[in-house]
Amino acid sequence: MSRVLLCQRDELAPGELKKVAHREGDAICVYNLGGTFYATTDMCTHATASLAEGDLEDDLITCPVHWGQFHVPSGKAVTFPCERHLRTYKVIVTDREVFADIALEADEALAAANSPV
């Protein structure tokens, strides 16, 4: 089963995020960006740091340790010292709950990976 429960739909207001530990693998960070949910690995790709403790501004998450930034929908590393992209997860929203399919990447990440730019 690759589906992991992240939170209740009403648990995170827009602009909020949280860390979700689970048995299937690395901890996940779930974000509510203006009503749309996204999920990435919680661990920064640069150093040991939980992104859930960072600052979420618009669609960028700033790591609390060295202030590198990632684009949340695509997982792209955008600001020094972060250079490796974040692993993203496809988010499935039901009536009440938010899940991640940890076998799949987010659509935005796939689109970005296929983009010629």
Binding site: A47, T48, H66
Partner: protein
């Protein structure tokens, strides 16, 4: 067995007190040797036994309005960060990484999430100074490194009406005990108006090649120099000489634990030197309200001829509203940091006039400070000579002028042309250099001459 093993590395190794202090600083007789302004061994002891122990001024709360606002300054020669926390409190940290000691913040002020050391990427949160992480963090994890034990070193912090003080001495008395009854006089500057006071923006920094005590002593109680040293400035700003201080009807010198304030009761004597009629008018209009707030007596001090030093190196002039710290930089040099303090509720044009007025009088381009800096440098430099260094400097003015029955707080002396505050300052200086711990510092209040 090595006993040192059990003393934490952070404990300062106490050096034995110098043996000759009673001879070179005798405040019973009012005699001082220039050696105290020159000797590098004495200076090292001052850093350890005065600057690492006393409560030192680090900031005004108004400089750090928002969470994450910081400024850098120093406590003695120890560089520190002063940071507004998320819970609105203010914390003071050593501005030095606990890995190799590099400075972690190079700006003098700003707003930040935290501070990242340029050397190995150790990152400290502005809130709490905790070590958040490092570059190449995995290698630390393999060494079973405990991040929680390696945050920025934190000082004790306390405020008095907007002024933030800090100390690294765990055995120091509370700030309230440290300032004692002198706060009653500090209120004249800090609390004359219901809105309280604030610092204007910016800080002017300069360097004077003098011993720090000469500057601190000048403000602790030396108006004697005013009429002579500052004749040219007074004539330039007022068109006439400095008021004849000796002829003022009522003036005092008060001190407590080395802090000192000399003052007349002429309401606007200091303020008048700014040459801004509107400032005098502002103070005169405010005065009845100050009388309601602080009483009639203190309402006559709000801009009077006066000066104040909080031991060891924080000084201000009511009326000119200049606030400064004399940062020790070796025995023969200070860095002078100056700010301007105003009533928060004062009209903007009055604040601007104070900013310019302080600049015109007490700043590196100020017409008063120019003649001070010159005097202080040569008071210091002349002590290069061994014979000069052992000259018997006279600090005896005003012996036997203590007012035993005064109702004013602190140790009160008659008149401001009086070296009692300088004697109290040097006595406290010597007591701290001789006392192994805070508990050994004698209480001289009530016994000073």
């Amino acid at each position: 067995m090595d006993n040192n093993k059990h003393i934490p590395l952070r404990t300062i190794e106490s050096t034995p007190a110098l043996g000759n202090l009673d001879r070179i600083c005798d405040m019973e007789e009012g005699r001082l040797s220039g050696k105290v302004f020159w000797d590098p061994a004495i200076y090292e002891q001052e850093l350890e036994k005065i600057f690492a122990r006393c409560w030192l001024f680090v900031a005004h709360e108004s400089q750090l309005p928002k969470s994450g606002d910081y400024l850098t300054t120093s406590m003695g020669e120890d560089e520190v960060l002063v940071v507004r926390q998320k819970d609105a409190s203010i914390k003071v940290f050593l501005n030095a990484c606990p890995h190799r000691g590099n400075k972690v913040c190079f700006a003098e002020a700003g707003n930040a999430r935290g501070f990242i050391c340029n050397y190995h990427g150790w990152s400290f949160g502005a809130d709490g100074g905790r070590l958040m992480g490092m570059h190449e963090s995995k290698c630390y994890e393999e060494s079973q490194f405990d991040k929680s034990r390696h945050g920025l070193r934190e000082a004790r912090v306390a405020s008095y009406k907007g002024l933030v003080f800090a100390t690294f001495a765990s055995d120091a008395p509370t700030l309230e005990e440290y300032l004692g009854p002198m706060t009653w006089y500090m209120d004249v500057m800090l609390d004359m108006d219901e809105g309280g006071s604030e610092f204007l923006g910016g800080c002017i920094r300069s360097t004077i090649e003098c011993n720090w005590k000469i500057a601190a002593e000048n403000f602790v109680g030396d108006i004697l120099h005013g009429g002579w040293t500052h004749d040219s400035a007074a004539k330039a700003m007022l068109g006439g000489p400095v008021a004849n201080v000796g002829e003022l009807p009522e003036s005092y010198s008060v001190n407590w634990n080395g802090h000192g304030y000399e003052f007349a009761t002429d309401v606007v004597g200091n303020a008048a030197t700014l040459g801004e009629k509107d400032i005098n008018k502002y103070l005169h209009v405010l005065r009845p309200k100050v009388a309601d707030r602080l009483g009639e007596f203190r309402s006559r001090l709000i801009g009077a001829i006066s000066s104040f030093t909080v031991f060891p190196n924080f000084s201000f002039l009511p009326g000119q509203n200049t606030v400064r710290i004399w940062q020790p930089r070796g025995p023969h040099k200070i860095e002078l940091f100056t700010w301007v303090i105003v009533n928060k509720n004062a009209p903007q044009e009055i604040k601007d006039k104070w900013r310019r007025g302080a600049m015109m009088t007490f700043s590196p381009t100020g017409v008063f400070e120019m003649d001070d800096g010159e005097n202080w440098e040569y008071c210091t430099k002349s002590s290069r000579g061994v014979v000069t260094r052992y000259q018997d400097l006279y600090v005896g003015l005003g012996m036997h002028t203590r007012l035993e029955n005064s109702e004013l707080p602190g140790n009160v002396f008659k008149g401001q042309l009086n070296e009692c505050n300088a004697r109290a300052f040097y006595q406290r200086w010597k007591d701290l250099l001789q006392a192994p711990t805070w508990a050994d510092v004698p209480d001289r209040n009530g016994t000073l001459r």
